[in-house]
Structures are given as structure tokens and as C-alpha cells.
């Protein structure tokens, strides 16, 4: 974006916030449904200062990262296997496609039965949800490797390992990173959903409690925190992706 465009966007956001604030103060918006931005900001500052809220955020962050660390390698390995081994692909790809389209929350009770209401349960559900994105991404990334480049490498005497390193890895990197980023979005949503559904700690657990008690400023403040964290992770992964895929022909 150019500088004057940024200015226009910033001004627009300010105008939006100011009119929202004004509408609440004038009584046109019910503050018990949608509190004023100033009230949300106040709640945000108060929440950030409370140690038990910070602890809850840490619990959620740990669950999200653990689930991601497990789901990425296993999901990709499964995706590669389905793409490279025709028999496995024929057997499991219909199942993957079926489960990919189903809302995973249907399976939440199963996870509670197996793991109880616990941190491992949140991690397991996060892994389950995220893995599908990475399986599908893993399959797509293998299929994105141009066969001709493998032929070229063979003509020039590449070993099998050199073909993996020089052709497969760089050709697959953009799609792999993109599916990791998409997986992270699903992962965060899944862990939060899990915590809202039933938990003893975590920011989702707090959101559920504030919601039940109709503590709207706290609820919206928590949403801001979650949104900012999610956007930060998303943007960080996107920057890496852009750097690694500069060679792609973009308009």
C-alpha cells in the first residue's frame, strides 16, 4: 500500500471507532450487547494485568503450539504417503476427503471420552483438525513438482537425494508453507472451540465463563487478544512464505 492509502485506511478505522463509541453513548446501541470501544479497551488493560488471565493465555498458547508441532509433520508425512503410494492413496483418499468436509466439532464428545476434559484432549483435537489441512496440502505439494524438472536433473546426473533436495524441496515449499498457515488458523479455532466446550483453564474457558455471565467488555476484550495473536501468527507465516516463493510468477 502507498502512504496516502495507509492514511485513508487509518482515518477510516478511526471514523468507524468514533461512530461506534458515539452510537453507544447516545443509547442507539445497547451496551449490554455491544459495549463501547472505550469500555472494551478498559477491560483489555484490566485483563492483561490479571495473572490468572495471563496464565490462561499461556495454557492456550501451549496447547496450540503442541498441536501444531505434532500435526504438521504427521499430516505432511501422511499426505506424502498418500500421494506417492498409489495403493494407500486409493484406500485412504476418499476417507480424507469425506472427513475434510465434515465439521470436526461433531467428534468432540469422542475426544472427551478418550482423554477426559484435559490439556491432552485439547491438543489431540487440535491435531485431529489441523492434520486434514496438512494431508491435503501434502498431497497437493507433491503433485505440484514438475516431472520435467526431475527428467532434466536425471539427464544432468542428479542422485535420488539431489533430486529431493534440489527439486522436490524448493518446488514444494510454497504449498507446504501455505498449508501450514491454513492449518494454524484451523488449529487455533479448534483449540478455542474445545476450551469453550469444556475446560478447566485456557482463554477459551474464560471466554465461555464471561459469556455465560454476560460480561461483554471482558468477552470482547478476550476476542481482541485472540484475534491479534492469530493475525500475528498468520502474518509471520505469510512473510516466510512470500520470501520462499518469490520465484512464482505473480501478476
Amino acid at each position: 500500500m502507498r502512504r496516502h492509502e495507509r492514511l485513508i485506511v487509518a482515518a477510516g478505522v478511526l471514523v468507524l471507532l468514533a461512530s461506534w463509541e458515539a452510537l453507544v453513548r447516545l443509547g442507539r446501541i445497547d451496551a449490554s450487547l455491544l459495549p463501547a470501544p472505550s469500555a472494551i479497551a478498559g477491560a483489555l488493560i484490566a485483563l492483561a494485568a490479571r495473572p490468572e488471565v495471563r496464565a490462561s493465555l499461556a495454557v492456550t498458547a501451549w496447547e496450540v503450539l503442541a498441536a501444531f508441532a505434532i500435526a504438521v509433520p504427521t499430516g505432511l508425512a501422511a499426505g506424502f504417503a498418500l500421494a506417492e503410494v498409489p495403493l494407500l492413496g486409493a484406500l485412504f483418499r476418499p476417507l480424507v476427503n469425506f472427513l475434510f468436509g465434515v465439521p470436526k466439532s461433531v467428534f468432540l464428545p469422542v475426544f472427551i471420552l478418550v482423554f477426559g476434559v484435559s490439556i491432552p484432549q485439547k491438543i489431540a483435537f487440535g491435531v485431529f483438525t489441523t492434520m486434514f489441512v496438512l494431508i491435503v496440502g501434502g498431497i497437493a505439494s507433491v503433485q505440484s513438482v514438475p516431472r520435467e524438472l526431475i527428467t532434466v536433473s536425471r539427464v544432468y546426473g542428479a542422485s535420488r537425494w539431489q533430486i529431493v533436495r534440489e527439486i522436490y524441496v524448493p518446488a514444494m515449499a510454497p504449498i507446504l508453507l501455505e498449508s501450514a498457515r491454513l492449518g494454524m488458523v484451523f488449529n487455533i479455532t479448534a483449540v478455542l472451540l474445545c476450551e469453550i466446550y469444556g475446560a478447566r483453564d485456557g482463554i477459551g474457558y474464560r471466554i465461555a465463563a464471561w459469556g455465560e455471565n454476560l460480561q461483554m467488555p471482558q468477552l470482547y476484550a478476550a476476542l481482541v487478544i485472540v484475534a491479534v495473536a492469530a493475525v500475528a501468527v498468520n502474518e509471520a507465516l505469510r512473510l516466510v512464505e512470500l520470501r520462499l516463493s518469490a520465484w512464482r510468477d505473480r501478476p
Binding site: E148, R154, V155, P170, A246
Partner: protein, 257 residues
């Protein structure tokens, strides 16, 4: 007599298994002396690309053998044989110079040396100044020049070209044809050049080998006795027309069958 640098000895190639077996090449023999420019033509599906991939060591013939410099070809021989395809097939994440240096990288040639050699090849193919461009920043003709530079960078004795200009527009094709002849006269590689274009075949080659369709057999071997260097004016000469005509008769007969 100059010895055959590439010798194709009674080669047959079958694809598929019993029932649906297709014979792509049958009993093809061809001796190519060192430094000769040979064009391979024939109706579509005559197995000329298959023949090239056998010489490249990308597959083994069902019967017969291919020898390069007296050695049987059983696997790719990157130091003796360079190959250029219809599409440039550049690695899209590597700059022009890194693409040219790629075969050297596979052989663990030190970086400074391989970049120096790649830069000289880009100069030879008329791309000095474009070293750092990525493939998507180059035109079709320039990409094919990079691909030719990559084929030459290990100084192989043999250059295999599989319809290298087929996806370029006619003007670019003619310019690159002249460039190829200039490079060939400077380096004196042995060239096996597969093409659909009779003009291209007669204009570039010392010798045009005509293959028939299914199964591919050598049906004619035409010596092109036009003087070198070739010029555009020759393409309208009587001799050029006669040579082209002779090849065309074979192709037409083969397509009719």
C-alpha cells in the same frame, strides 16, 4: 574416416506389456561421426523423441545398444551428453546463471568456478547482462537460450535437442536457429536434433535422418550438401527445395498409411 561418436546399434523399443504392446522403434541403426549435425525427422509418433531419450540414457532399449564414445549408454552420462528439451524446463526458483550452473552444482564443482563457467556460457548464448533474472522474467526465446547454455556448460561432446524451438514463434525460431549454428561452428559439438520442421532440418543439419511411423525405422538418410555457413537466402535455392521435397515425400507417404 572419422569414428562414430554416437553409435546406435540395432535398437528396438517396445512399450506396454503383452496384448497392448506398441513397437516404437524397430531395428534402428545409426552412426554419428564426431562433430556432425544430424536432424531426425519423421511423422508424429515415429519414435524420434524415444530414440533421443535412449541416447540420453533415460531408458534402456528393449533390444540393441547405444554407444557413446565407445561406451555403452546404460544411464545418463552428464559429462558427455547435454540435453535440451522442447520446453526450457528451467528451475523457476533459480536465476539464469544458477540454472546454467546447475549441472556443475550436481557434480560439486566449487561455486566460484561454476559461476564463472556459467557466465561464459550465458555470454556465448547472447545473454550477458541477464545473469540474475528469474525464468519468469525472461521471454520464451531467452529461456531456451538459458537452456542451451545449461546444455553446454559441462562441455559435453554430444548435444541432444528434442524439438527445442517447437514452442517458439517463427521469428524467434529463425533467430535461434542461426544462433545455434554460430555456437555449433564455435564449439563443434555432435548434435542430434529432433524436429517437426523440414525447413529447420535442412537449414541446420549436415544430414537428415528420416524415420517412419509405428514402428519407427530409418527409411532415408539424406546428406545435406549445402555450403556452410548457411544463410537465409539458401532457403529459396533450388537445391534446398529438392532436399526438402525428397524428405517430404517420405513423410507424406508415411502419414497416408
Amino acid at each position: 574416416m572419422t569414428r562414430a561418436l554416437v553409435a546406435i546399434r540395432a535398437v528396438s523399443q517396445r512399450f506396454g506389456s503383452d496384448g497392448a504392446e506398441v513397437t516404437a522403434l524397430e531395428d534402428v541403426s545409426l552412426d554419428v561421426p564426431d562433430g556432425q549435425f544430424v536432424a531426425l525427422v519423421g511423422p508424429s509418433g515415429c519414435g524420434k523423441s524415444t530414440l533421443l531419450s535412449l541416447v540420453a540414457g533415460l531408458r534402456l532399449p528393449s533390444r540393441g545398444a547405444v554407444l557413446c564414445d565407445g561406451e555403452p549408454v546404460t544411464a545418463p552420462m552428464p559429462r558427455k551428453i547435454g540435453m535440451i528439451f522442447q520446453e526450457a524446463n528451467l528451475l523457476p526458483w533459480l536465476s539464469a546463471i544458477d540454472n546454467v550452473a546447475f549441472p556443475l552444482k550436481l557434480r560439486h564443482v566449487p561455486k566460484a568456478e561454476r559461476l564463472g563457467r556459467a557466465a561464459r556460457m550465458l555470454e556465448l548464448t547472447g545473454l550477458a547482462g541477464f545473469e540474475d533474472r528469474l525464468p519468469h522474467q525472461l521471454s520464451g526465446g531467452m529461456k531456451q537460450r538459458v537452456s542451451i547454455a545449461r546444455g553446454l556448460v559441462q562441455d559435453p561432446a554430444v548435444l541432444l535437442m528434442d524439438e527445442p524451438f517447437a514452442s517458439l514463434d517463427e521469428q524467434t525460431r529463425m533467430v535461434l536457429g542461426d544462433e545455434l549454428l554460430r555456437i555449433w561452428s564455435e564449439t563443434r559439438k555432435t548434435v542430434l536434433f529432433v524436429t517437426h520442421s523440414l525447413n529447420e532440418a535442412v537449414y541446420l543439419a549436415d544430414r537428415v535422418v528420416v524415420l517412419s511411423a509405428r514402428p519407427g525405422k530409418v527409411i532415408d538418410d539424406v546428406a545435406v550438401d549445402l555450403p556452410r555457413p548457411r544463410s537465409f537466402a539458401m532457403t529459396s535455392s533450388e537445391r534446398f527445395g529438392l532436399l526438402k521435397d525428397r524428405i517430404w515425400q517420405h513423410i507424406r507417404n508415411a502419414e497416408r498409411r
